[in-house]
């Protein structure tokens, strides 16, 4: 069965990432099946996680963008975190169908392209049309090539950062196993627990910053600024 999948071009990384998606979906569906006003059990745990993440992203992205685009950055964080940690499972990379998805360049590239396209879509939606592209000419018009280059480098650097770090770690751990198979690799694996968390955090944080930059209006006086002012008028 595995050979048939390999012939179709389906790699171990793809199988693991699909499995992780299914596991996360199953847990979330079970947790949210009978939602209660006063949560208990699994729903309680999920609410704590989501609330902590939301406070964190709001503090980075600002009140408006942080609340509105919280779902995508939090999903990226949770998904990439679990994908990074799947490389620490026993026999990961040696069993068929189990390998850390982030250790192949295609997975981070896909994630980074999602962020790239989403950033442009957010910019177009928040500025109500192509006015968003004015922001490329914003400080001074002749900086346009540099601003364009900066936009295009974002997905490349996101991809390479995630891929390079996780691939480098996995390679170092594998090399340690070849040298001394007992005891020593644990040090590197303990470090890799921390690194997996930091890389997932950095990826989603940068995605959040790019999105909140695109959500910032180019000319001002846009809808969400108006809605922000409504409570003040009501008080007066």
């Amino acid at each position: 069965m595995m050979d048939a999948l390999y012939e179709l071009g389906i790699t171990n990384q793809m199988m693991t990432s699909t499995g992780i998606t299914l596991i996360i979906s199953a847990i979330v569906i079970v947790a949210g099946r009978h939602m209660q006003m006063i949560p208990s059990g699994l729903q309680n745990i999920m609410e704590i996680v989501v609330e902590k993440l939301q406070n964190f992203y709001i503090s980075v992205m600002g009140e408006y963008a942080g609340r509105k685009y919280f779902p995508i950055v939090a999903s990226l964080f949770i998904y990439i975190l679990i994908c990074n940690y799947s490389g620490l499972l026993p026999f990961s990379g040696h069993l068929p169908g189990l390998a850390a998805p982030t250790s192949s360049i295609n997975f981070p590239l896909g994630m980074a392209l999602i962020v790239f396209v989403f950033t442009i879509v957010v910019g177009l939606v928040e500025n109500r049309g192509p006015r968003y592209f004015k922001s490329f000419f914003r400080p001074v018009a002749f900086l346009f090539p540099i601003m364009l280059l900066e936009q295009l480098v974002h997905p490349v650097s996101l991809t390479l950062r995630l891929y390079g770090n996780i691939f480098g770690e996995e390679a170092v751990i594998a090399e340690f196993f070849n040298l001394i198979p007992l005891g020593v690799p644990i040090i590197m694996q303990a470090l890799s627990v921390l690194m997996g968390l930091i890389q997932a955090l950095v990826f989603s944080l940068l995605a959040g910053i790019y999105i909140s930059e695109a959500a910032h209006p180019v000319d001002g006086n846009l809808h969400h600024q108006e809605t922000c002012e409504i409570p003040v008028q009501q008080i007066i």
């Binding site: 503090s59 980075v60 390479l160 950062r161 390079g164 770090n165 930091i198």
Partner: protein, 73 residues
């Protein structure tokens, strides 16, 4: 052949020096700030991780170049 191997080693070896020094300075300053103003610790930590990630990108580019060079061997 050996030249490419040396070049790959130099690419990753040299590209770790700059970011290593930079990350050391950045985290030292951030720790100093955290110990002076513990109430700012969480904000400083976020900014520090972000700055470290940007510096680390340089090393990752070096790693990429050395992997590309090894592919040429």
């Amino acid at each position: 052949m050996t030249l490419i191997a040396i070049a790959a080693a130099l690419a990753i070896g040299l590209s770790t020096i700059g970011p290593g020094i930079g990350q050391g300075i950045a985290s030292a300053k951030a720790l100093e700030g955290m110990s002076r103003q513990p109430e700012m610790a969480s904000e400083l930590r976020t900014s520090m991780i972000l700055a470290l990630a940007f510096m680390e990108a340089m090393t990752i580019y070096g790693l990429l170049i050395s992997i590309l060079l090894l592919g040429k061997m």
